[in-house]
């Protein structure tokens, strides 16, 4: 069925390696999000699945067959482009119909399928318009309708929401999730927006510099980032990371000393640090797991407070000037600006530790 397999796929453009030895399995009916900063190779990976770019090395499988050498037109996938790529000279109806015409679907069946797709996306009244006569949101729907009009093995979506305004994006996000449930088809979705990734994906695959960093359900990736890149990339505001020196207690690492204080370390992680034999580690704490108050182990100064209505971002500086962000609920007491404060980590389990050399997560 709609399984997609990517095995050891590498893509080089001359000297540049866009995708580096990528291996990824997308299950049938899964909504997988390829997430990464621009230029990380996620779009190239998608284009290789579509058949628009050829891998330099590796194998791509769709459904039950290997398609590495199969032309895009014969791969049985549908793609939604960032620019929507609607055919400007064709009406909405002709646009949606085009994949069916290309596959020589009989006329009656075509009308019915176009009607269905248009119905699902609420385009019934727009079928005779040209793309230029549509709003951005409507164009996006036409692009989706063109993709779902036949039932392909998989949908490939390349940043389909990035050209919509913020409000419409939130709405369409939810609609896409609903559409996925309704169609029960595999979706591979490329985005640089971590909110889209967190809210839409069954699993997220995070790419950086062409290499896969971590794959997993959104919550798992958020809670246990595999390395510093993922830790800093996922979450808003980003995770606070500070390099500290390990403090040894009775036989194993007890805490990490950072400018202005010490952060305690769970015993099993302390043991792992001891096994690694490093003197320094990178400490990561998410902004919502920090508290500001009159007592706490770390000395800091509040610099600026940003109120977002439902929450506050308290920008602090450690004694050496490194920035740290604390996220507060709106009902918590407001700290004084430009005043000394003390920071506490809520629970010792919420401290993430990374090897500064390999940037990998240190696990107990």
């Amino acid at each position: 069925m709609g399984r997609v397999g990517i095995r050891g796929v590498t893509k080089r453009f001359g000297e540049v390696t866009a995708v580096d030895d990528l291996t990824l399995d997308v299950a049938d009916r899964e909504f997988l999000v390829l997430l990464g900063p621009s230029g990380c190779g996620k779009s190239t990976a998608l284009r290789m699945i579509a058949g628009l770019d050829e891998p330099t090395e590796g194998v791509i499988e769709i459904g039950d067959r290997e398609v590495t050498e199969v032309e895009a037109k014969d791969r049985d996938v549908a793609m939604v482009f960032q620019s929507y790529a609607l055919y400007p000279h064709m009406s909405v109806r002709r646009n949606i119909e085009f994949p069916l015409r290309s596959r020589r679907v009989p006329h009656d069946e075509r009308d019915e399928l176009v009607g269905n797709a248009a119905g699902i996306l609420g385009l019934e009244g727009l079928l005779d318009r040209k793309p230029a006569q549509l709003s951005g949101g409507q164009r996006q729907r036409v692009a989706l309708a063109r993709a779902i009009v036949r039932r392909p093995e998989a949908f490939l979506m390349d940043e389909p929401l990035s050209n919509l305004d913020a409000k419409l994006r939130v709405q369409t996000r939810a609609e896409l999730v609903e559409l996925h449930r309704r169609l029960a088809t595999t979706i591979i979705y490329v985005t640089h927006d971590q909110v889209e990734a967190m809210t839409m994906g069954d699993r997220i695959a995070i790419l950086n510099d062409g290499a896969l960093q971590q794959v997993g359900p959104p919550q798992a990736v958020y809670e246990r980032p595999a390395n510093l890149f993922v830790a800093r990339f996922i979450g808003n505001p980003p995770m606070n990371t500070v390099t500290g020196r390990v403090v040894n207690g009775s036989g194993s690492v007890r805490a990490v000393a950072i400018p202005g204080g010490e952060i305690p370390v769970a015993p099993e992680i302390g043991a792992a640090i001891t096994r690694l034999g490093v003197d320094e580690v990178v400490v990561g704490v998410r902004s919502e797991h920090l508290k500001v108050g009159s007592d706490g182990p770390i000395e800091a100064t509040v610099s600026v407070i940003e109120s977002l209505g439902h929450e506050r971002h308290v920008f602090c500086r450690l004694v050496d000037g490194q920035p740290v962000i604390v996220r507060q609920a709106a009902d918590e007491p407001v700290p004084a600006e430009a005043a000394p404060t003390r920071l506490t980590v809520e629970k010792v389990e919420l401290v993430h530790l990374f090897d500064p050399a390999t940037e990998q997560r240190i696990e107990g």
């Binding site: 628009l52 895009a72 037109k73 620019s83 055919y87 400007p88 994949p99």
Partner: protein
């Protein structure tokens, strides 16, 4: 609103001043802007008037006079008689036929070949720039050079044909069935560079993403060309058809150099006919009538093309 408000006359002094002073000022500015506008148009109007409008009416006027059979006799005013004489003659009819045939032979084939080469050269391949240069090179060739090249190639003594063992009798350029085709081939070759460049620039404006979308949508190479490339290229094709037809109607050099209108008037296009009447038969009156006819035919044909073809042209998004 009360009744007094309506009947009270306006006595406000400042309001009166503003209406009496502001209006002439605005009027004055408009006059000055208009004057500047006309001043800027004057140079092109002068050129246009001297080389287009005046000759056009002069031509029309010349057509009303019959030239004497011998020089130095006065020409005779005969009104529209010369127009009817020339425009109903079999020579004129033949010349119109040859002109249209020539356009039909050169324009569609020229566009199709230019497009074919442009599609071939529109690949991301190593060394493709060399082919682009070769394909567009004829744009640097004059009609005279093209005619000499092809005239030599088709020459029965020194040409390509005897070299490959062919010796058509009569020689191609003297063969009533082949002469026009030979001139047409020369013309197509000479215009190919321009056609190629035009079509290449048109192809550049077709977004790659649309072709990729069509590919994912299951369209093969021909379907992508037919359903995406061609419609988006239609403004270029339309332009090429209109301009190409006008060029074809005005072709002269290759006829003069290769066939001189012969054999048996089979290549006697209207421009050449005009030239013959004027230079060889020394008959400015009939030449003027023919020139006006050529203008009218070009105009009408262009308008028809615009009506028929433009409906199928897709402009912009």
């Amino acid at each position: 609103m009360s009744a007094t408000d309506v009947v009270v006359p306006r006595t406000d002094a400042s309001a009166g001043v503003s209406t009496t002073v502001a209006r002439p000022r605005r009027f004055g500015r408009r006059v000055r802007e208009a004057a500047l506008g006309y001043l800027l148009v004057v140079p092109s109007l002068l050129i246009f008037g001297t080389f287009i409008i005046y000759p056009f009416f002069k031509n029309f006027y010349l057509g009303l006079y019959r030239n004497p059979p011998f020089p130095n006799l006065p020409k005779k005013y005969i009104g529209f008689e010369q127009y009817t004489d020339v425009l109903t003659s079999s020579d004129f009819y033949n010349s119109v036929k040859v002109t249209f045939l020539f356009a039909l032979l050169t324009v569609p084939a020229g566009i199709a070949l230019g497009l074919a080469l442009a599609v071939l050269a529109h690949q991301r391949l190593k060394g493709i720039a060399i082919y682009r240069t070769i394909f567009s090179s004829t744009i640097a060739t004059s009609v005279a050079v093209a005619s000499v090249i092809f005239g030599t190639l088709m020459n029965p003594q020194v040409g390509l044909l005897p070299w490959i063992g062919l010796d058509p009798r009569p020689p191609i350029l003297e063969n009533p069935e082949w002469a026009l085709i030979a001139v047409a081939i020369t013309t197509i070759w000479q215009n190919l560079g321009l056609s190629f460049i035009l079509m290449s620039s048109g192809l550049q404006s077709v977004p790659d993403e649309l072709l990729e979308a069509a590919e994912v949508d299951g369209a093969g190479g021909w379907s992508r060309f037919r359903n995406v490339t061609l419609p988006l290229l239609s403004p270029t094709l339309f332009f090429a058809a209109i301009v190409g037809s006008i060029f074809a109607f005005q072709s002269f050099g290759q006829i003069d150099l290769l066939t001189e209108g012969g054999p048996l008037d089979k290549t006697n296009v209207l421009t050449y006919f005009v030239f013959e009447e004027l230079r060889e038969r020394n008959n400015p009156g009939t030449a003027a009538v023919l020139a006006i006819a050529l203008f009218a035919i070009t105009l009408v044909f262009t308008l028809i093309q615009m009506r028929v073809l433009e409906r199928r042209v897709f402009y912009g998004r």
